[in-house]
């Protein structure tokens, strides 16, 4: 119900733009509000890149940490690990953003010899840090949810630890890990402040498009930077709300996917 209201509001508010320009601007590559150019492609590409980078980093690390915590560590060490992850999840995003500015950006600049550290990579790294706890905690729950009898059966079959992990534990925990991934990608997609501070905020598709060492723009950082200045009811305002609509639609598609896949297996 709330979802319907939110979507309805976003659609209603961005309607002036759709009525005037159709929906072709979604794939336009130029964003110049003053010239009535509202191309969404740069920010869309930027958003997808940032989320993809974050997942590429956080997923292996998170699952590895979950395996460590659920399967290898004694309870004495497990609890502090899990507790620290939960703490990490509670750190406000602006703190990550400031950390990014003062630690990550200079590091990227000097290590990769970049003109500026404000790049998609910086955004991806920060987002990875932010979604790591989600992935780790949920994946650990999924692993611990695997029945003890399964482990014993694997042992009785003479499977080594590697085989047990890859053939028994991970496949069984996979639905949970998948949900964790989808939830985390939703979080990464919607994150605003931390990304805004490190992404460079320039509305340009990286050249070539896979060059994540260039500054870019995400949908959220654009909304964050421009919303306050757009006068209510203007085309610019409508375009920013349309960015919100795009985000909401992507997020809903993602969570629907998570829901369906999960319920099939369970």
């Amino acid at each position: 119900m709330t979802i319907v209201l939110v979507l309805g509001f976003l659609l209603y508010s961005s309607w002036p733009l759709i009525a005037q320009q159709g929906v072709a601007f979604i794939v336009g590559s130029e964003w110049y509000p003053f010239e009535s150019l509202f191309g969404m492609l740069p920010a869309l590409v930027g958003t997808l890149w940032a989320v993809a980078l974050a997942l590429m980093i956080a997923l292996p690390c998170g699952v590895a940490a979950a395996i460590l915590s659920a399967e290898l560590l004694p309870a004495r060490l497990r609890n502090p690990l899990r507790f620290s992850m939960e703490l990490m999840a509670g750190v406000p995003s602006v703190v990550y953003g400031l950390l990014g500015i003062w630690v990550l950006l200079p590091l990227l600049e000097s290590q990769l010899n970049l003109l500026t550290g404000r790049t998609l990579l910086a955004a991806g790294l920060l987002l990875a840090l932010m979604i790591l706890p989600t992935i780790m905690v949920l994946a650990e729950d999924a692993l611990r949810g695997v029945r003890q009898s399964q482990r014993e059966a694997a042992k009785n079959l003479g499977l080594g630890w590697n085989a047990t992990l890859c053939r028994v534990l991970l496949p069984q925990a996979w639905p949970g890990i998948r949900v964790a991934t989808l939830l985390a990608s939703g979080r990464a997609m919607g994150e605003t402040v931390a990304v805004m501070l490190v992404v460079g905020s320039i509305d340009r598709i990286p050249e070539p498009f896979y060059n994540f060492l260039q500054p870019a723009q995400t949908l959220t950082s654009r909304i964050g930077r421009e919303m306050a200045e757009a006068s209510v009811g203007s085309q610019h305002w409508a375009a920013l709300l349309f960015c919100g609509l795009l985000l909401a639609v992507i997020a809903i598609v993602v969570s629907l996917a998570a829901h369906r896949k999960a319920s099939v297996v369970v």
């Binding site: 509000p33 003053f34 003109l115 919303m227 306050a228």
Partner: protein, 317 residues
Amino acid sequence: MPRYENFDDAINCKEATTRATTARSTIFCHGENLDGGTMFQGKRSVLSLAVFLLGIFSGSLHAALMIKVVGSTTVLPVVAEAAKQYRLMHPELRLTVSGGGSGVGVASIERGSVDIGMVSRPLSRFEIERLGNTIEVIAVARDAVAIAVSKAVFESGVQRLSLAQIAAVYRGEIRNWRELGGMDAAILVIDKEASRGTRHVFASVVLGNARARAPGATIITGSNNEEQAVISQSDQAIGMLSNAWLNDRVRAIAVGEGEAALLPTAENVAQGRYLIQRDLNILVPKNSSAAVMDFVGFLRSEKGQSIAEMVGFHPVR
């Protein structure tokens, strides 16, 4: 977008102004601070919630005694410092001053959500058409837009540029400091958000149009503080910055043709010889309350103008 310049001048210690993504909201914390730990513990939480809501409610009742100022981060230090001094004389008054940019200042005054808007540029023709009848534009200080470069660039020999050279950099025709007489290093070209007053003034003088595109830009920043941080962190940056934000790591270069190039010094600005300068304005509705008008009068007074000088600008009187 809580940029870290957001040192909202919380002049009344009981109140904190936070900027959320889309709007500024003022939270009034009357009475004691709410203890987060007790928030969800039965009766006490209900009580603290009630106190909190009461605080919000009584806050809105006090609105008549409160002046909200929002807008340009360039004008902000003048008004914030003046507000601090003004409150010593009028302790019953509450003043909040927060940033966001000139575009936000205009939009907020248009929405009627603030008492005074701050704008670091002249109003555009369209804005005058929309607001000219109801809003008064009052200059409170004069400022130069400095062309700021990183210290390393300055020391490598780039100490003056012509308007045409600066334009070429922002159009992407010049991409290396070597072409401007400096070291062999790419130029980190910093542009500002399109709604920022500093950008309007810069773009209309250098690029010929307040809304001109800058295809040579590498990244986009918002407030003066954000841009200052980028320039000082880099060794290759150029940007447009209010005079008051220059420091050892962020140096101004002379602007103009050959020997006629001038630095944005107090003298050059006062005589109107520096090429990129503007008035720092506030927007005040014509039907403002006496309290607001009195504060505006203070900004324009000798005391107010000396405050403007103290924070790094030039007086308008």
